[in-house]
């Protein structure tokens, strides 16, 4: 069902040839939209949901930007296929739970996914690698204009776009940026940052796991409020907070490098060695090692061109992806073996770590 997606040659997150950046992995914006004339998905019965699904799919298919897309009905997917799409953030766990009468539209580059009959009738999501709030907003905004033309959206002048949950009311927009923050985690500042940005209505969530020590040091940072501010205002505010987090992260990294260079080189060196030689790697450990390797690229210990590879592994080393790769139902222990094998092969040709940049600074 999903081979065309997973095997795709131009997926934004895993095949992108564009330059990757330190700290920011990807940017995502999603809009919650509903049709005016049908109850929200949770309240609708199956036949109403099917009508909405058919309507939305037929209209979306006509959009130029969606011509090369794939529509998938969730019911027709195996559990493993669902998990793979979930790990790629192309669908949500809520969509999986809804199971009947819902689906997703994914374009060939996987930069756009439209969930139908999730919490809202439509959840439109656009994503791009790197830090791209403004350009991404431009694209999703014009896509949304086209949707407005073809589908009768629920909207009130007072409350904006009407959504199933009042937390999404107004713009219906959640913008989030995936950030790699090993400096803030290692210097134990992550909790402080989370609290500080929380006061500004910005939410920090661990990406692969929970709390302030999320494995892989990857965090998803997004706006909480959707009503009372326009989209550009929300993005501007979020963008400013993110810029200051990037600054703090870079400061924390350089302070760590200055204070404990041996410790840092040791951690990176060990990660390098383990990734090239391990035979059993849990998902958590792999994420942690990949995080250190990404840090090595950011410090110029490894060539810049290697960062995309690391970013791809973050996605492809998640349990569902590993299992999907080996094409058979395997026990978790064997999954760890398969993961280690994959990482050994990906990083077998890695050039040796070069700490010259450190010497120059001395």
């Amino acid at each position: 069902m999903i081979e065309s997606i997973i095997g795709g040659r131009k997926a934004e997150l895993t095949q992108s040839s564009k330059r990757t950046a330190p700290v920011v992995l990807s940017t995502r914006i999603r809009l919650a939209r509903n049709l005016a004339d049908s109850p929200f998905p949770q309240r609708a019965n199956l036949s109403q949901r099917r009508v909405v699904l058919t309507d939305c799919v037929s209209q979306i298919q006509r959009l130029e930007s969606m011509e090369s897309g794939t529509f998938i009905e969730i019911e027709q997917l195996s559990d493993l296929e669902k998990q793979v799409l979930l790990e790629r953030h192309l669908i949500s766990s809520e969509l999986i739970e809804s199971s009947k009468g819902c689906g997703v539209y994914i374009n060939s580059e996987q930069t756009c996914s439209i969930m139908i009959n999730e919490e809202d009738h439509l959840r439109i999501q656009f994503l791009k690698t790197g830090f791209n709030l403004k350009s991404l907003w431009k694209r999703i905004n014009s896509f949304d204009d086209a949707i407005d033309q073809y589908l009768n959206l629920a909207y009130s002048e007072e409350l904006g776009y009407l959504t199933a949950c009042p937390t999404n009311l107004g713009t219906g927009m959640r913008a989030s940026v995936m950030m790699h923050l090993p400096g803030l985690v290692l210097s134990e500042n992550m909790e402080k940052v989370t609290r500080a940005v929380g006061q500004l209505g910005i939410v920090v969530r661990g990406h692969f796991g929970e709390g302030s020590d999320a494995s892989g040091h990857i965090f998803q940072i997004s706006n909480q409020q959707t009503l009372g501010e326009s989209e550009p205002e929300i993005l501007e505010r979020l963008g400013n907070v993110l810029k200051s987090i990037i600054d703090q992260e870079l400061n924390a990294r350089f302070k760590y490098l200055e204070d404990k260079p041996e410790l840092l080189m040791d951690q990176i060196g060990r990660a390098y060695g383990v990734l090239q030689n391990a035979h059993v790697l849990s998902s958590n450990e792999a994420m942690h090692l990949l995080s250190l390797l990404r840090l090595a690229v950011d410090f110029n210990f490894l060539p810049e061109s290697r960062r995309a590879e690391v970013d791809r592994c973050f996605i492809e080393c998640q349990p569902g992806h590993i299992q999907y790769d080996v094409k058979s139902d395997i026990a978790p222990e064997l999954r760890d073996t398969a993961r280690a094998a994959k990482l050994r092969s990906v990083f077998s040709k890695l050039p040796p770590l070069s700490f010259d940049s450190l010497e120059e600074n001395k």
Partner: protein, 171 residues
């Protein structure tokens, strides 16, 4: 001692303690393992404390007026229980109880963002059509046939204009 924190949703011992700041107010919630899982605390995608607070605040005020949405039949207790609306019309039906909830959740109460021009056009079309049809009925009842003919023509013009518009849209 009475120091053991209990889960906000059931009476089990709370082992998960959450703090989040929303609109400069500190919100604390204690949960047991099971409820934490159910509410999606362990799911970084789906969890929002604001959402959960809203549900629990909603669950508390059970003695307020019983409102019901004429379009989908959703009533106040359905809303309090799920924290969600049943349909777009619910926002009109539940307006009296909505404001304090939105105040806790958002930075303002009025939408200042994007305006979907087509959705607005359709809305004003439906309102106008509704008014004209009512006027037509009144005119007929009052035997003001000349006026009625005028309304009938206007309705006709509006409807055919709209279907032209539809053709353009669906083309």
């Amino acid at each position: 001692m009475g120091d053991v924190l209990k889960c906000k949703f059931c009476d089990e011992v709370a082992t998960v303690h959450l703090t989040q700041i929303i609109n400069n107010k500190i919100h604390k919630v204690d949960l047991c393992e099971t409820c934490a899982q159910q509410k999606g605390v362990s799911d970084p995608e789906g969890f929002s404390l604001a959402e959960m607070l809203m549900q629990s605040n909603a669950a508390m005020g059970s003695d307020d007026q019983q409102l019901q949405c004429p379009a989908c039949g959703f009533n106040t207790s359905d809303f309090r229980r799920t924290g969600r609306m049943g349909c777009a019309e619910c926002y009109t039906a539940f307006e009296p109880i909505l404001e304090p909830i939105l105040e806790d959740m958002h930075s303002g109460l009025k939408h200042t963002g994007k305006v979907p021009s087509h959705a607005l056009n359709r809305q004003s079309y439906h309102t106008r059509l509704h008014h004209l049809k009512a006027a037509l009925v009144r005119a007929v009842e009052g035997e003001a046939y000349e006026e009625a003919a005028k309304y009938r023509d206007e309705i006709h013009a509006l409807e055919s204009g709209a279907s032209e518009q539809n053709k353009v849209n669906k083309a």
